[in-house]
Amino acid sequence: MNPERLVVVDGVRTPFCKAGTDLAALGADELGRIAVSALLTRTDMDPALIEEVIFGCVAQPAESANIARVIALRAGVPQSVPAVTVHRNCASGCEAITQAQEKMLAGRGKIFVVGGTESMSNIPLLFTSSAAKKFGQLARAKSVMQRAKAIAAFRPADFKPRIGLMLGLTDPVCNLNMGETAEVLAREFDVSRAVQDAFALQSHLRAAAARDKLAEEICPVFRSDGKVVTRDNGIREGQSFDALAKLKPQFDRRNGSVTAGNASQITDGAVALLVMSESRAAELGYKPLGALTGYAYAGCDPARMGLGPVYAIARTETQTGLTLADADIIEINEAFAAQVLAVIKCAASEEFAHDQLHRLAPLGEIPAAKLNVNGGSIALGHPVGATGARLVLTALKELKRRNARRALVSLCIGGGQGAALWLERM
């Protein structure tokens, strides 16, 4: 007897907006709450039936410990429903979904609200540890003399903050930031600046053309100052190759090719999905978007984290027997144009298949017509905790539109991993 499948009943996301713009004033918990509230309203789901809330978040705000719980309670989920926050870096949004699958298979529940949220605008600045120590001494100082002494210990350097965002985007093991790993791939796989820019342009053009389609997944955000945010604001309608060409390389000033224009954007946003066992969905009268039919996470070299998808996709092939050719729609997260292009090359390369994947045949082709058909993170932005869930949602919606059967969703993960999920339309 086949084990129960996890199905996605429906999903919704907030608009994705560049950090420091329309959604900057909202914390990650507020973004998550808005997405979950809109999800529950749309699906007319009785929150008391939910068995767990699982949310991905990378830069978990200090003031929302276990942000999934905060989101759940604020969205009106009863206190009795437990919640847990998950973190697999850029694939945290996927992790939430796959953990729901695992809990279901372990008999730990049938109905879950999952998703991911990120407010990169609000990633804090941090004091250095020497400054923190001095603050501690100041707080403990009792007498006037002690206080004066503690204050005198501070130096100008103590007030130079560590930038949380930069820290988060740097891999401590290989000591490269994400952009630098993309440069590694650009060099090793000979992905030229021009090709990267062309890919980036395509992302914007496709996203701009898909505004109406994207609107189907978006719920409006009603800000407390009265303004309403309804659109992704990372997409540049008038993006041109020339405009991209003008940009200076971001991570290697002299010899680099990765720019702010051909990399994903720093963005705020949240995604929420209602997932449950297939039988429960039928009992409740839902018509799900699709089912999760296979997934894998794989580890790889942190310095070449961008290749993660290739390893993960290979694993899913072993698991499910499905190959790239079986996918009608492919979503590969556009962390960097260079990285996606390197993945495409490696997937088609026999040599790579031999050396790295230890298999004879290459994975296959990733045709442009199937890949990121409505744009990707270069145009839409990459709120790191949420993107994994967005890709699943957007792929399922596109399968429905095309009346197609299967979608493959894959992401590279900072720290040297890859995630791959197979979805099937219902």
Binding site: T41, D44, P220, F222
Partner: protein, 728 residues
């Protein structure tokens, strides 16, 4: 005499035992003594068969008995007063007894008994502490004032205050004497004249309580205070001096006059008693209190205000005698509001503040956004006025779930339609709702004037359609008209009623008829104001005489606040059904067409500029048609407008729009702020005498104004000398 700690009561206090002195009681007592090992005696108030403690004569006597016992003890170290009720310490004197008091002598007995008991407490040689959890108001707080110390729990239920002036009385059991001596004249005046009740934190700040302790620790904290012995407090010699009192009193009197136009004798009397008593001996001050409150108890104002208080209690608890079924007895858990305009937003904010989730639906993102912005502003204003903490406001806002696209509503227990006043649109909305909700969902409409029975008839399950008419602004107006359409089932009516109570509104059940109750009574009054204006009466005069009468706002100002377009629309609907007497004066239509809509457009009868007070709009002079009304005296202007309200109110009773005259009066007071001290239009008629009113109305008819024809009910009462309230 060891008291073993048994399972703690709600307030964590030990199980009461019979004190050594009193014989085993034949009747259940309210006041019981509990002796402790440490020499402290607890006096516990636990009124049998009630969730509250009040001070009736019997309770006063029981307390006096226990005090006598305490006075005779030599080994007692201190006394702590506590209550065994969940959310009430002592809620004040028995108002029913107050109403029943027939003569000044009976009143004297009641007052002197209370003062005597409080004085006894104040005279005890050992330290006394009031350990307050729940409401300690009026007489209940006066007991606290007689104690040496007061400790309160920080719970939501704990309320401390002296609200007597709100029901036309003053604190007569020592409150007007002891509070100024405790916290100083100015702060005491603020509390007493404002009839204020404050939460524990604020009470601590102003000095009305000495300490805050969790409910479970109140007695322990009280024991600590007793160890300190009798307190030594400031006597506020400067603030309470004759000089300061003499300076403060005239200023306050002026302010009171401005606020009340002299209609509420209680505040003036209280001012007099407090400012004279504060610099004299306690005995003299108590005597002033006693004389003052006895005088006030004789006034109609007092009886009327106590009457309004009881009507509010009645509305809070009202039910129908319908067999309870499973669907009714469950409280509402999920709601939806259709329409995010002013009323929709107001209703949504109110419901969300009452801890219920609300789905707010409107036709598109822009409309929903307006509603959300409106709700956010209501919460912001609420925080500014300390109605909510910022935390509560955020939680409330999060209970609003916007729906700019159509969503299923199966889980909604009740859906309230508050869309535009257009019958066809409402019918369409109801038909669509039929598909989206579950069979159990109650469909309510907030329409002001459209026929609910017709809306119901266009749906598949008309028996679940009901009217739930809120008043503007929702956050301030406690009244809700619950309107039974022809098809509304009793179960649904009951559920609508219970829902109104659940969200803290005061319901009145009304028959489905144009304008229902309140608007129907208001419209002829507003029309008359409009006609008089058209005939040359001055805007200031028209509004002023009604403020003099006791309305919170004049008729032309009210038109501006509601909106001339909205008023015109309602009036026009009523005119269709009720004919000539609801005929709209021409100026309303002309002004509306010219864009003079009132506050919402910046100008109507008044100019509404942001930071300034509203001034009469010189620009409307062109709408005056004649000068006929110039000669009418202010007195007659007032009479004409009041008569029409009274007449229409009587008609509503005649036509059984409501069956109880108390419902008419209650609705007018709570829905329009009709002079509460007059008890409502029908009570006012009884006070003045139907014969006199009808006589004056007939006089007006004779001199050519036919629309003052008294209705049959009113004319009948005038003839046989009857009253709307024959028994009281």
């Amino acid at each position: 005499m060891n008291v073993l700690q048994r399972k703690p009561e709600k307030t964590g206090q030990p199980e009461p035992l019979e004190p050594a002195s009193s014989p085993s009681p034949a009747v259940e007592k309210t006041v019981r003594l509990i002796a402790r090992d440490d020499g402290i005696c607890l006096v516990m108030f636990d009124r049998p068969g009630s969730s509250a403690n009040i001070f009736d004569l019997r309770t006063l006597d029981e307390l006096a008995q226990e005090l006598e016992f305490i006075e005779r003890q030599t080994e007692l170290k201190g006394v702590v007063f506590i209550s065994n009720k969940r959310s009430v310490f002592i809620a004040g004197a028995d108002l029913n007894a107050m109403l029943k008091v027939a003569s000044p002598d009976d009143a004297r007995v009641l007052i002197e008994r209370g003062q005597a008991v409080m004085n006894r407490i104040a005279a005890l040689k050992i330290p006394t502490v009031a350990a307050v959890h729940g409401a300690a108001v009026g007489g209940g707080y006066e007991l606290c004032l007689a104690c040496d110390y007061r400790i309160a729990s920080p719970d939501h239920a704990t309320k401390i205050g002296l609200p007597e002036t709100k029901i036309g009385l003053l604190p007569g059991w020592g409150g007007s004497t002891r509070l100024p001596r405790l916290i100083g004249l100015p702060k005491a005046l603020d509390i007493i004249l404002g009839g204020k009740t404050v939460p524990a934190k604020l009470a601590l700040k102003v000095g009305m309580v000495d300490e805050i302790a969790p409910a479970e620790s109140l007695v322990t904290a009280a024991a600590r205070k007793i160890k300190l012995g009798k307190p030594c407090r400031s006597d506020h010699w400067l603030l309470n001096s004759r000089l300061v009192a003499a300076v403060v009193a005239p200023q306050v009197r002026k302010m009171l006059f401005k606020k009340t136009r002299g209609h509420y004798p209680a505040v003036f009397k209280a001012l007099e008693v407090v400012t004279h008593g504060v610099s004299r001996t306690v005995e003299m001050s108590l005597a002033l209190e006693r004389d003052g409150i006895i005088e006030l108890m004789q006034t109609d104002v007092c009886r009327n205000l106590i009457g309004v208080f009881f009507l509010q209690e009645r509305a809070r608890k009202k039910t129908f005698s319908v067999a309870a079924s499973a669907a009714e007895s469950k409280p509402v858990a999920h709601t939806a509001v259709i329409g995010a305009g002013v009323m929709g937003a107001g209703i949504t904010q109110w419901i969300s503040a009452r801890k219920l989730p609300v789905i707010l639906r409107d036709i598109n993102v822009e409309q929903v956004a307006k509603g959300m912005a409106g709700i956010a502003k209501l919460y912001r204003d609420g925080v500014k006025h300390h109605t909510f903490t910022a935390h509560e406001a955020r939680a409330g806002m999060e209970r609003v779930h916007p729906a700019p696209t159509e969503v299923p509503l199966h889980h909604a227990d009740i859906v309230i339609e508050a869309a535009v006043e257009n019958l066809e649109l409402k019918k369409k909305i109801f038909q669509r709702l039929d598909e989206l909700v579950s069979p159990d969902t109650v469909l309510a409409t907030n329409t002001s004037a459209l026929p609910i029975s017709e809306m119901a008839a266009s749906t598949r399950h008309p028996e679940r359609v009901v009217g739930l008419h809120f008043f503007n602004p929702v956050y301030r107006m406690q009244l809700v008209e619950v309107i039974a359409a022809q098809q509304t089932s009793p179960e649904v009516l009951q559920r609508a009623l219970k829902f109104a109570q659940q969200i803290g509104k005061l319901p009145v059940v009304v028959k489905d008829s144009p304008g229902f109750l309140v608007n129907r009574i208001l419209i002829p009054y507003l029309i008359e104001a409009g006609n008089l204006f058209e005939s040359g009466a001055r805007i200031e005069d028209l509004d002023d005489v009604m403020l003099d009468f006791g309305m919170p706002m004049g008729p032309l100002r009210l038109l501006d606040e509601v909106g001339l377009d909205v008023s015109l629309h309602v009036a026009a609907t009523l005119a269709v059904h009720f004919g000539e007497r609801m005929k709209v004066p021409g100026c309303l239509g002309k002004m509306t067409n010219a864009g003079l809509l009132g506050r919402k457009s910046g100008g109507g009868f008044y100019l509404h500029e942001k930071s300034k007070d509203a001034k009469p709009n010189p620009g409307v002079a062109s709408y005056v048609q004649s000068q006929k009304a110039r000669e009418i005296t202010r007195e007659e202007l007032q009479e004409r407008m009041v008569f029409l309200m009274v007449n229409e109110a009587a008609r509503c009773l005649e036509e059984q729009i409501v069956t109880d005259p108390a419902d008419v009066d209650f609705a007018m007071i709570m829905g329009t702020g009709f002079a509460p001290f007059r008890g409502g239009p029908l009570r006012y008629t009884d006070t003045v005498g139907a014969a006199r009113l009808v006589g004056a109305m007939n006089h007006l008819v004779a001199s050519g104004t036919a629309h003052f024809e008294p209705c049959k009910l009113l004319a009948g009462l005038a003839v046989n000398g009857g009253k709307f309230y024959p028994k009281n």
